[in-house]
């Protein structure tokens, strides 16, 4: 794929400052870019790098300084970058059709426009809609529905009865609908509570590699529209996640907890069960959350606190030894004063 800067400026709705006949063949980071590359400045603080890059052109936000390189000035460099990546690295959809080496139970329904690779298993009563791509080793249980244009990467497992929306991406090894972790007479007879609920994954969700989302004991575990979940995340039975939320790697969310819309969880956060996290809450990486959080707060730590207070605390902790020394010396000095005062 090749584009002149003139062509690119049109497509990206950019103002071009520079040579409109220059040719772009790919996209690279500002430090790695070479002649023929487009690069980008998403964060204005890196603008000084425009001077030293070898890229043929730089995508940049409004009102850049003068530069010796060609500039494509756009309102939002990030969304323009996405467009450019899709031009130079178009996603290749595999050809539709069901591999003769896939195993499909007789009453499963599979769209003629879906691509089903070798080694896939699709259970009784399952339904795979238009344009889906089901990679090798995927297991789709009985009565599972997969909405149009969804992609299930290799070795994904979707247990019986779960529902996957449209344009969903499940990365390799993700497990949807495994039994929730429910036992009665805990740590004695450990009686298994049958997990007879399900999982519903709404449209436009993306779920990372080896992430696990358990089915509800009763009712459903629900991942809202356009939620993005990273790798190795654990979502327990009966959890609900509101639309547009973003969950970074290795987070764990315990049973029946409800997240609102546009919640952001940093990596390795842990959240107890049966609480509510309000719309727009942001929780810093590695926090431990044991109580509900009202909408809009930014919190950190374990126990979690407002992010600013937590920053102050983080700074104080290394001063504990000094505090303890001061305290000891004060105790002595006050004793001394008290003795003298008694005389």
């Amino acid at each position: 794929m090749e584009k002149t800067l003139k062509e690119l400026a049109l497509i990206l709705e950019a103002e071009l400052i520079g040579d409109e006949s220059a040719v772009i063949r790919g996209v690279r980071g500002i430090d790695e870019a070479q002649a023929g590359d487009l690069t980008f400045i998403a964060n204005p603080k890196y603008r000084k790098k425009i001077g030293s890059t070898r890229a043929t052109a730089v995508l940049v936000g409004p009102a850049p300084e003068k530069a010796q390189t060609n500039l494509l000035v756009v309102k939002n460099p990030y969304t323009a970058l996405i467009k450019a990546l899709n031009i130079f690295y178009p996603a290749v959809r595999p050809k539709p059709g069901i591999s003769p080496h896939a195993c499909i139970e007789p009453d499963a329904e599979i769209s003629a426009t879906a691509a089903v690779y070798p080694g896939v298993y699709i259970g009784c009563g399952a339904r795979i809609e238009d344009g889906c791509v089901i990679y090798p080793g995927v297991y789709i249980g009985n009565r599972v529905a997969v909405g149009e244009h969804s992609t299930l990467h290799p070795n994904v497992a979707v247990y019986d009865g779960c529902t996957i929306g449209k344009r969903v991406i499940l990365h390799a090894g993700a497990v949807i609908g495994g039994d929730g972790f429910g036992f009665a007479d805990f740590a004695r007879s450990n009686l298994k509570v049958p997990q007879v609920g399900t999982v519903v994954i709404e449209d436009d969700v993306e779920i990372g590699a080896n992430t696990t989302i358990d089915r509800a004991a009763l009712g459903e575990t629900r991942i809202g529209r356009n939620v993005k979940i990273d790798n190795l995340v654990m979502i327990a039975h009966g959890v609900t996640i509101g639309e547009n939320s973003v969950i970074v790697a290795q987070v764990g969310i315990s049973g029946s907890t409800k997240l609102g819309k546009s919640v952001v969880l940093g990596g390795q956060v842990g959240i107890v069960g049966h609480i509510e996290i309000g719309d727009g809450v942001m929780i810093a990486a590695r926090s431990g959350v044991a109580r509900s959080i009202p909408p809009g707060l930014v919190v950190a730590g374990a126990p979690h606190q407002p992010h600013r207070e937590w920053l102050r605390l983080q700074a104080l902790i290394p001063k504990l030894p000094e505090m303890r020394e001061n305290l000891k010396s004060l105790l002595k000095r006050v004793e001394e004063l008290e003795k003298k005062e008694k005389l």
Copy 2:
């Protein structure tokens, strides 16, 4: 499946207060239940919800208040619930038989009552006993034994020579018997120490999705009878876990550590290697444990402490800034007093 309350009361050994001809068709949570549903109150503090539920009947513990709904009064609502779930949502065992699309090495022994799905691989000398269910994509290495009525969900991998007991459930993506993480001349030449031990999983164990249990360097890693392990847990080489223990998601246990019986580990706990955790110990979520713990203790935090002391500490930490302010002001005031005292 339909049952009258009269029939249900008999099966669940419940005292029925209400209409014995009312018909139940399913089980739902107290907030979601509709006419025709059975629901339950496991925790007495939710009893007030009996007034507002739309369920046709409520399973409840002894001596409930009067209610307008039908009540099924039982000693233990949780175990009655389990019985009811098994009635209304009976587990469907697949038909026995070996799929022609499974690959079985010639000298593996597979019971005629086992169900082996397409895409399964079973190695030389492996043995699959009566009533086992082996889902698509499962890998069973050479000389692995799987005891009767065990279920291996899709894409489970059991490396060579491991032993799986009876009625064991391994959820999708679990890996049993991968090499322990053992290297000599650490962070220099990183010489691999061959991991020639094995893993033994005793009867009635359940292991969550994408959990990994490494084989021992020498000897065995052993998961005791009726242990329940959640998703994404890491059990390192040579670990022993005593019977009935319960391990919540994303826990990591380092090499050669021994857990007693009925130990409970909350989510995301980390435990160092070569220590002993006594019978009945409970460790709160996200704790970091670096020393052995005697039987019966309830601990929390990193470093771990008795749970009560930890609660007190958790409450103190947000008061650090105030403590530091007080300390500063005291220092000044004592200086002032000392000056005056010298006059």
Copy 3:
């Protein structure tokens, strides 16, 4: 396999103290060993156990005390142990050949000396070199290269275009090259940034079960020569790890962070994105790292601190309640003194 101590002494370059005709048939830990076993003392503090072991011979470092058992004295007991394990438990490489139940795209190149099991999928333009072992359920995407004598355990997935070096071991369920977690207009429209980079895994790397290594957005994620990574680790897009580094289970490393050579990360460590960890840095288990670390430091905690200071802090934290009590009493006593002083 059987060896006399005379034979073993020769192979292990050991000084034999004892009966050179005694016969060894296996290796076990010092507590489990029986007659016919070789055992070892890697750490001198366990030397007293030589007196009680039932092993026929003990591998031990220089200048041991007299013992009733046969001793094989070597410079480095750990490397001698590795040799002995390889003698008594030789790794069995499967026979070369491509299973007729594997699916190989027509233009993939597979060495005649590679072993490819049933249920493997190998994509267009992929290249599998001499002596590789590809276990059941492995997915190898288009244009992936796997260097000679590498082993891919069951259900590993390697996405399109990634490069795996020589003598690499990927344990079951590992996912290489899944999309990095990159979105614009975060927690609102969550626009996916196409991840068009790749992953390069250099020679002699070992990667644990269910670990995930994401492809770069642009450029590459790179795991250096001889790096060892444990189970359930998350390596995000664009991360670089220097040679010989060792990463214990459940660690998470965020995007674009660079680790130097011979870095050691304890279990469950979390590291933010876009920072640099210098050569030889050691980070204690469960630390949270948010800033770059210069070479050679040993750190712990969150925020991380020099390991020694952190140990001191860890000891102080349980003393917080006492500190707070002292502070309260001091406040009173100083008030008292001030009152009297005013009189």
